[in-house]
């Protein structure tokens, strides 16, 4: 399975195959994580908040390729993508393991994945550097086998996303 997760609508409907799921977060209803630890300690693997996030995190887990499209704010994902990623913690366990010499949460059945991140709206080299460091750390916590970050302007987002999806279909 493949996943396109975007914080803005993308005109991709004609280019997606049956194996690819697309979510436009701007049209989803996703509440903030409330930090209740329910998905770890009460109903493991299941979030107590029953909104659109519960349709998305299982797809994140199952996908072996992901394309995340997000505005960058202060060197991190802006609110729509960050809200969704925070709500995706049911894919992890509470338990800690050592990975690459650091402690990280144990993953549940999360497919190892190749990730592409289309990041737009950055304003400086410093911001891009922080974002690179963030994604490198995310890679350990989101089971990325590999990842590529493409910094684009807002005007380039649609074209870059379409190009990435076409490359998936061709591979």
């Amino acid at each position: 399975m493949k996943l396109v997760l975007s914080d803005r609508p993308l005109p991709l409907s004609d280019s997606l195959d049956a194996d690819t799921r697309y979510f436009d977060l701007s049209s989803c209803r996703i509440a903030h994580c409330v930090g209740c630890f329910g998905c770890w300690t009460k109903t493991p693997g299941r979030c107590v908040i029953r909104d659109d996030a519960v349709r998305i995190y299982p797809v994140i887990a199952k996908s072996e390729r992901v394309l995340y499209v997000s505005r960058v704010k202060y060197g991190g994902y802006d609110s729509p993508m960050k809200t969704m990623l925070e709500r995706a913690i049911p894919v992890q366990q509470a338990f800690i393991r050592v990975l690459d010499g650091e402690t990280h949460h144990v993953q549940r059945a999360v497919e190892p994945k190749r990730a592409t991140i289309l990041a737009y709206g950055t304003t400086s080299d410093e911001e891009r550097e922080i974002f690179r460091a963030l994604v490198a750390r995310n890679a350990k916590n989101m089971n990325f086998l590999s990842y590529e970050i493409r910094f684009v302007t807002e005007d380039e987002v649609e074209q870059a996303a379409a190009q990435e999806v076409r490359a998936w279909q061709a591979s």
Partner: protein, 202 residues
């Protein structure tokens, strides 16, 4: 134009470890402190309060390797809120991992916010194993660092402080496992159930 406004950016602020850290900080701080939770609806009120203090201490947990969205959204509001005099912004961050450096990226995000918006960045305390450390014999280590953070803010110094459990990584992993097993047990959930690989719908 004196005093410290402590803003809790935890998603579960009223029941958070960040609240406990803030309370311990206030007990050790010689300046006047005011504590507020950040909510989705009180941004304007908090911006108004920021106009009246010399320092702001942002207290929050590391969340998905970065700032919790509760805090991110407040910073975005603050960006649009012209303050007459901008307070110095300091950070008290905690993560559940063994390594305090896992907090670094979130701290850099706040520093970037400060640079982009003309705030001076003050001091920072990075707490590791912050989910559990207050309920361990190592609590005193945290209290001492909180005292140092308070002194640094009052004196206008820019200090970078950190605290971790003085354990090996393997001991930490075993201790954290016991902590979470105990947490699940209170909910009637076993270790095996918590370690389920299944994800709903996947």
């Amino acid at each position: 134009m004196a005093g410290i406004l402590i803003l809790n950016g935890s998603p579960r602020a009223p029941r958070s470890n960040s609240k406990r850290y803030a309370a311990l900080f206030m007990n050790r701080c010689k300046a006047q402190c005011e504590y507020q939770n950040i909510t989705r609806t009180n941004h304007a009120e908090l911006c108004e309060k920021m106009n009246k203090v010399s320092d702001v201490l942002l207290v929050f947990p590391l969340y998905a390797d970065g700032l919790p969205v509760t805090l991110l959204e407040f910073l975005k509001t603050l960006e649009t809120c012209p303050l007459e005099r901008k307070p110095v912004i300091s950070v008290l961050i905690n993560c559940g991992f063994f390594e305090h450096h896992q907090n670094d990226i979130a701290v850099r995000m706040v520093e970037l916010f400060c640079r982009q918006n003309g705030y001076r960045f003050g001091s920072v305390l990075k707490i590791a194993s912050g989910e559990a450390i207050l309920d361990t014999p190592f609590c005193g280590l945290v209290k001492r660092k909180l005292g140092q953070l308070a002194a640094a803010i009052v004196q206008g110094k820019a200090r970078v402080l950190h605290v971790s459990m003085p354990l090996t990584r393997g001991m930490f992993v075993r201790a954290s496992t016991r902590y979470w097993v105990s947490y699940g047990k209170k909910n009637g959930v076993s270790r095996e159930q918590m370690a389920a690989m299944e994800i709903e719908g996947a």
